[in-house]
């Protein structure tokens, strides 16, 4: 399976342009000064760089911000329901960072285990992921602190590794091999030296990330200290928006809403977040999470606790976007460390 080639920038671009014929290609592109994943129509729109992240993750191409579950029309005394159309053209997510690809795997765990989500599954089935390993860390990055790696392969079908000049292309799955297909004609095979770039980058970038790791044993501590007063102290700054959840590669919560008029419309599902009071508001008027600190705690614990067993990864993939974009400068890793310290020091029951 593991086949590797060395590509020049021009060859990479040529391959990308070729993909547009058969696939909907989603790649980082700039719009009004913001770099975001979007559907490109020409390879020159794509920003494929050795480092740097999009403003938010590509999850919306598998789990859209809003999607119709069914459409309805009323006419001549009848109600007609119609299923939303499923994607026909296969889709490639191109230039995804390792953290974001891991985020997609975390989404799979939610939408594909147990009862399979039909719409998500159809998109996932249709999607090939081309990741780009990182040659440098952004200030907010902390993938290595949560078990990830700047050159991680999780969730990746094809991996691009920035060389000093050009790219190393590694095929990691059958789907990835299909994507490379005939294109490899004039590519030169990678040398052992090229392949060594991978561990070298991992070492270099990991060193740039100056975060101490989040210990897996902390999950239990956090759960035990669920009622600890520290949550109140740590969440004082939280303004209760949902930037953290919406830019997060692994946050998967949604709400149902109805959009339409008396003649036609749709039942939609849209992103929602545990940081909003309405998220948990019951029809009865009861709200199990009335305070900001309960909601903030929920998000932190859902990333770092509530895991089935010890081997299960954290639901945080360490992209650091929530840290960089939080209006109040809250830092989820510092929060976890501070909470664990306080719970251990003062006992799980302190300041209930």
């Amino acid at each position: 399976m593991d086949a590797s080639w060395k590509l020049t920038e021009a060859q990479l671009r040529e391959w990308l342009q070729g993909l547009l014929e058969k696939y909907d290609v989603v790649a980082p592109a700039e719009e009004d000064g913001v770099v975001l994943f979007s559907r490109i129509t020409s390879e020159d729109e794509a920003i494929v760089e050795p480092s740097g992240k999009t403003r938010w993750s590509p999850k919306e191409f598998l789990f859209p911000r809003t999607e119709a579950l069914y459409h309805y029309t009323f006419g001549s005394g009848k109600v007609q329901l119609e299923d939303p159309s499923l994607p026909e053209r296969p889709q490639v997510l191109f230039g995804v960072r390792s953290c974001d690809a891991s985020g997609l795997v975390r989404l799979d765990e939610i939408f594909l285990s147990g009862t399979t989500d039909r719409l998500y599954a159809a998109r996932r089935e249709n999607t090939t992921v081309v990741t780009t390993a990182c040659a440098a860390a952004d200030p907010e990055c902390f993938c290595t602190a949560v078990g990830g790696s700047p050159v991680g392969e999780e969730g990746s079908d094809v991996q691009l590794v920035p060389l000093v000049e050009g790219w190393l292309l590694r095929v990691l799955t059958d789907t990835g091999r299909d994507l490379v297909g005939e294109a490899k004609g004039d590519w030169s095979a990678a040398t052992a030296k090229d392949v060594k770039r991978l561990p070298a980058l991992e070492k270099k970038v990991s060193k740039e990330i100056e975060r101490s790791p989040v210990n897996k044993e902390w999950s239990k501590v956090l759960e035990e200290g669920f009622e600890h007063g520290v949550w109140n102290r740590l969440s004082h700054q939280c303004l209760g928006c949902s930037i953290c959840a919406y830019v997060c590669p692994s946050c998967s919560c949604f709400d149902m809403n109805h959009n339409g008029n008396a003649w036609s419309g749709a039942q939609n599902r849209s992103w929602d977040a545990c940081t909003f009071p309405l998220f948990t508001l019951h029809a009865s008027g009861h709200n199990p999470r009335t305070t900001g600190h309960e909601r903030y705690r929920q998000r932190v614990l859902h990333k770092f606790a509530f895991r089935g067993d010890e081997d299960e990864p954290f639901r945080c993939v360490g992209c650091g976007r929530c840290v960089a974009l939080c209006p109040a400068g809250l830092d989820i890793v510092n929060t976890v460390a501070a909470a664990v310290d306080a719970i251990r020091e003062e006992g799980a029951d302190a300041a209930r």
Binding site: R65, T66, D255, P327, A328, G329
Partner: protein
Amino acid sequence: MTEANVSVARSETGAAPDDWQPHIVALVCNWCSYAGADMAGTTRIEYPANVRMLRFPCTGRMSPLMILRAFEQGADGVLVSGCHPGDCHYVQGNLVARRRFTIFRSLMDFVGIDLRRLHFAWVSAAEGHKWAKVVSQVTAAVREAGPLPSFARPETWDGVDLPEVSGSGPEELDAAQMEAIQANLRKAASEVLSAGRVGVVIGYGAGSLADQTTPVFVSETADCEKLVWGEGCRNNLSTYVFSALEQHERVAVVAKTCDLGAIAGLVREGQLGRDQIVVIGVQCSGLRDGSELATKCLACTGDPHPVCDLVVTADGVQESCQDPSEAALDTPDARDEQIAHLESLPHDERWKYWQRQFARCLRCYACRAACPLCYCSSCIAEKHRPQWVPTSIDSPGNSTWNIIRALHLAGRCSGCDECARVCPADIRLDLINRKLALEVERQYGRVGLDPDERSALVDFRMEDSEEFIL
């Protein structure tokens, strides 16, 4: 209006189909215009049948959301009609509405709605003829404007290059001066705490990233060392005053020049007693996001304003007790050129400019959360019986949200730019806010820092301008 009709109008992006008929929603008041329309009917006056009427108690009851709702649902034009000034059955409903619609109209114009689609009229119960005339006039204008443009994100469009903003910003301070300010700030905080003037000081503490700060709540004098001062002190801390007041009788808040308008606004709107807060104004050398000076700083002096209780500079800490009614924030703005540039573009370019921005909106409501003056305990975006703002994170709900957010702050927004700073999608909310501030000032004069003044849109004058009203 049926969905079928709407889709006919929308299916064409260019010229309207031959059989296209404009759909116009008329919001009318029960006492005058509805009766006027009735009069037109009973006197058998003929007028175009493109208008669907909705009856309200008063134009004062009509929220701009209702107009936005009509556009969302595919109306090509909207007409609002009520009693003549002085004839309102609720005395002043139409006078307050007149101001609201003046400002709303300028906002709709700014986001690219052709004003031939949006009309306002005074029609009394006796004016059947006028009603017919107004409807004919409005229908002709909407027909000329054509079908409503699509709310969808413009896919192939080059965008607008706004002129670069420039300005020198506040006086630059060297490291020693910044250090001195920080030391004086800590001293000031420590003094108000130890003298028992306040229970807590809301200030800036070091953040986890190099240029970031995070709000800190200091209630022990020993903790005053946590307070920092620098170019990363971005938050408008008055947002946190309410939560701090839940636990303390009086709180101190560290404020930059740009934060003071919000504090004055909260006092003016009765949300905050002036005696509940001690404002520590600190000399500011401007904020930076990365290496760039923030846009709002370009035309700012950075001087702590006299309305503060304490003024912290590199030289020391002073008590200040100037009369706020004499103080007016001078707010020239580097962005005015960008606004003028947008206004010079045709409507459809402006519409595309904003629709592409709104299409990026994630509806994270960070703009609302960070805004000190968005203090409603329950936001209109959360009202769902009926659902005023569609919760789907797409068009046209995104437009509605961004427009109504701005409008609810018209005449109130203090220009602290927090909404634009926190927006993860970089939507230029600051341009919208600034545009509204300019329009309110042009029409009704500037509201300064005096807590005794009234916000422009809850006030009215009989002689307010109404040249656009039919």
